[in-house]
Amino acid sequence: MDLIHPRTVVDVAEALGTASQDGISVLVVGGRRHLDKGNPTDVDVELWTTQLDQVVAYEPDEMLVVVQSGMRCGALAELLAQHRQEWPADAPADATVGGVIASGSTSARRLRVGALRDTVVEMQLVTGDGRVVTSGARTVKNVTGYDVHRLMTGSLGTLGVITQVALKVRPMPERRRTLVAVGDVALATTIAAEVPLVAGVLGTHEGLEVRLEGWPDEIDELASAVTRLAGDTVALDEDSSFPRIPWWLWPDGGTVLEVAVVPSSLPGILAGSTNYAALAGVGIAWVGAASLGEIVAVRRRVEGTGGVAPAIRGPGGLGGTLPVPDVHRRLKASFDPANVLAPGRAWTPGTAAPRAPTSGG
């Protein structure tokens, strides 16, 4: 396997221009944390973004930071912390900013901070055939033209290489506290619904974690609301991470599905499951599936509610039914005309048959 390790956007453009000309297939790689999402593909070369790691601009007053895509989430967090700000990705420290965005990953505190895709306000990218494109602007609000950056967010490196992004950041909360309690996803759902402004409620097969963030008195007010619903709770120390139970430490070998459904159907979908972590109120759950049979069973329940359940670890592919396949095909054909970017990995009907044991396209 060959390796491209560019230092500049021009390097990226040249490499992809050549790859397109010569029909060399390329997998974009950031922190390597999320490479299982999408159908696994055999490629000729990997393009590593990790040397594109510069801070381009940071104006704390604007609550905007501009960084290159290969910057590690840990390094970005340190930079922002100097001004008591954060980009609430909650990703592993060695994941890259570009990888988080390209894999469409979810903040564990999505209930409070919203979808990460809404933090991306400007993007520079290189298309599969080596054209450098900028979309959006370095302002918190903007409706100038089409949002090509939204198309790239969650596109798994199949339309282009994200080389630089401007991100909306937020003030770091004054205080934070994690409460753990006995309970399941049903209780988690109740807490998410009834405690105002809770940052995150993770219901797992081992118990509950409730994340509170805000002003000092506010945290006390919220904590008593949680205790009223959950009974006894234990507060972890102030700087414990959230979530505390790292789902990625689950035994290797199995598949982890990322279920996304309407919040009220989470308890039903997870009933009987013994291996899950669910973001209550959001409708996301990571579910361990040890066999193909389990994958199919979970997907059947999920699809019955109009949800999706791609595998983000292990085999399983993306699942789900693709809407408007023609639009997807045309997008892929115009952003990656030679079909060199991770061919067959995702949503490119007609260019490759899904190989993984999925129940859908």
């Binding site: 054209r131 609000k141 100038t144 949002d147 198309l151 402004l197 002003w215 996304a260 999706v308 789900g320």
Partner: protein, 489 residues
């Protein structure tokens, strides 16, 4: 070749004759939105169901008419202004609230529903729909989606795109698709995100699934007066530096405060050079803490008057001042041109000064009322169109305002969009490659260029790989001559 008569007959059969307008008077009514750009159209259809919208699109395809989707027509960029032999498909009769599901934090609504009707429906249930454009009484949810509308409360909660979960869209070929999902993620590329803000160029939205939020338990509204514009703007940054992101931070200059005061009698300080309306919300304890920080920030910048709403009646009064700004300016002159540009927050003062200088140079009255927290300026030129030469001066001044904002590192539009008005400024901020990528995105949805042609992208922006005119040159001559007055060629 466009065949208007045949299209009309087909539409009358599908929608009923009273839902299809073709008399000259009606056509004139639909020839423009709230911008200064006037166009023209061949037919107007007023469907009541998704199936009827599909029939409209199929008739337009069969008889080769361009389609212009329309909500309430309050848009300020000429995006809903039709040109040529267009079929205007107006959603004004599709105003239902289909369902509200608090347990899933969502509601399904029809596109023609006025924004405020949704807010009013949710309020007694203890829920809100956050985006609240100043036009919320009339502008439609479908229009809000297609312009990615903002509003005072979008500072903390995000603009429309953060509040749209799924869209039912009649595609340019007449097929019906659901983009996005009721849940937090959907299969495929984020096409929902792409359609939001696409100004009716990718399809016709016939149903919207919006995210709703529980009404925050506590809220506090404050009005601060300052002796200088600088101190007022500095307070905005100081609030943010203290780690507070208020629900809303709106700024008004003296000109607009005086106009508002004599109109709404909200008790605004007419001697202040600028006022700041700040609202914080959250839990009781959170609101108390934020209020303390906001007041400290104002104090540190020499605030000259402070008013804190003591109850919801006073809160409503303070907001009435802000929300009646557009009504109030009618007292200044019969016409106005409302600008919309967005700059880095730290450049607000500099850009405001520049705007005042431009107005003075062109002998125009300008006032400012805007979303200061977002850096989103709304310079408002008041004028009398019947005075010869005035419109030209307004357009020249507007041109300079756009360039001023771009030079300050800003974008062409913060919330009103590009439409016809600003499409020829697109190359000020985007390269040919950037515009080609945007044209590709558009062509992927609409390879024939049928939807709202010649909007958003300048003529000449094309998607190379497809060699398809994404700007509808198949439907309108490519020279500028047929573009309406005011579209700033």
């Amino acid at each position: 070749m466009a065949d208007v008569d045949a299209a009309r007959r087909k539409l009358e059969a599908a929608l009923g004759p009273e839902a299809v307008l073709s008399d000259p008077l009606a056509l004139r009514l639909y020839a423009r939105d709230a911008s200064m750009v006037e166009g023209g159209c061949a037919l107007v259809a007023l469907p009541t169901t998704t199936e009827q919208v599909q029939a409209c699109v199929r008739a337009a395809v069969t008889h080769d008419l361009p389609i212009v989707p329309r909500g309430s027509g309050t848009g300020l960029a000429g995006a809903a202004t039709p040109i040529g032999d267009s079929l205007v498909v107006a959603t004004a009769r599709m105003t239902g609230i289909v369902e509200v599901r608090p347990e899933d934090r969502l509601a399904w609504v029809e596109p023609g529903l006025p924004n405020l009707d949704l807010a009013d429906h949710l309020r007694p249930m203890g829920w809100t729909y956050a985006p609240d454009p100043s036009s919320q009484q009339t502008s439609s949810i479908g229009g809000n989606v297609n312009t990615n509308a903002g509003g005072p409360h979008c500072l903390a909660y995000g603009v429309t795109s953060a509040h749209v979960l799924a869209l039912d869209v009649v595609m340019p070929d007449g097929s019906l698709e659901r983009l996005g999902a009721e849940g937090p993620e959907a299969a495929g590329y984020d096409l929902r995100g792409v359609v939001v803000g696409s100004e009716g160029t990718l399809g016709i939205v016939t149903r919207v699934c919006v995210r709703i939020l529980p009404t925050p338990p506590a809220v506090r509204t404050m009005l601060f007066g300052f002796d200088t514009v600088e101190a007022c703007a500095a307070t905005v940054s100081a609030i943010i530096a203290r780690g507070v992101v208020p629900a809303a931070v709106e700024m008004m200059d003296q000109g607009i405060v005086r106009a508002v005061e004599s109109f709404a009698h909200a008790g605004y300080p007419v001697d202040a050079a600028a006022v700041l309306l700040v609202e914080v919300d959250g839990t009781d304890a959170g609101v108390a803490a934020q209020t303390h920080e906001v007041e400290a920030a104002a104090d540190a910048n020499g605030v000259s008057s402070v008013r804190v709403a003591s109850d919801h009646v006073e809160r409503a009064l303070l907001w009435k001042g802000r929300k009646s700004a557009f009504g109030a300016i009618a007292q200044i002159a019969p016409h106005y041109h409302l600008h919309d540009c967005v700059v880095p927050r730290t450049k607000l003062v500099e850009v405001m000064r520049g705007v005042y200088a431009i107005a003075e140079r062109h002998g125009l009255i300008v006032t400012n009322v805007f979303h200061a927290g977002d850096g989103n300026l709304h310079p408002l030129f008041s004028f009398d169109r019947s005075v010869p030469g005035t419109l030209e001066r307004v357009l020249r001044a507007s041109d300079e305002v756009v360039r001023l904002c771009v030079d300050a590192g800003g974008a062409l539009s913060g919330e009103h969009g590009i439409g016809l008005e600003k499409r020829d400024f697109m190359s000020l901020v985007f390269s040919a490659e950037d515009l080609a990528a945007q044209a590709c995105l558009r062509a992927a949805f609409d390879p024939d260029g049928r939807m709202n042609p010649r909007k958003v992208l300048p003529d000449g922006a094309r998607c190379g790989e497809f060699a398809i005119a994404a700007t509808g040159s198949g439907h309108a001559a490519s020279d500028a001559a047929d573009l309406p007055e005011g579209s700033w060629i």
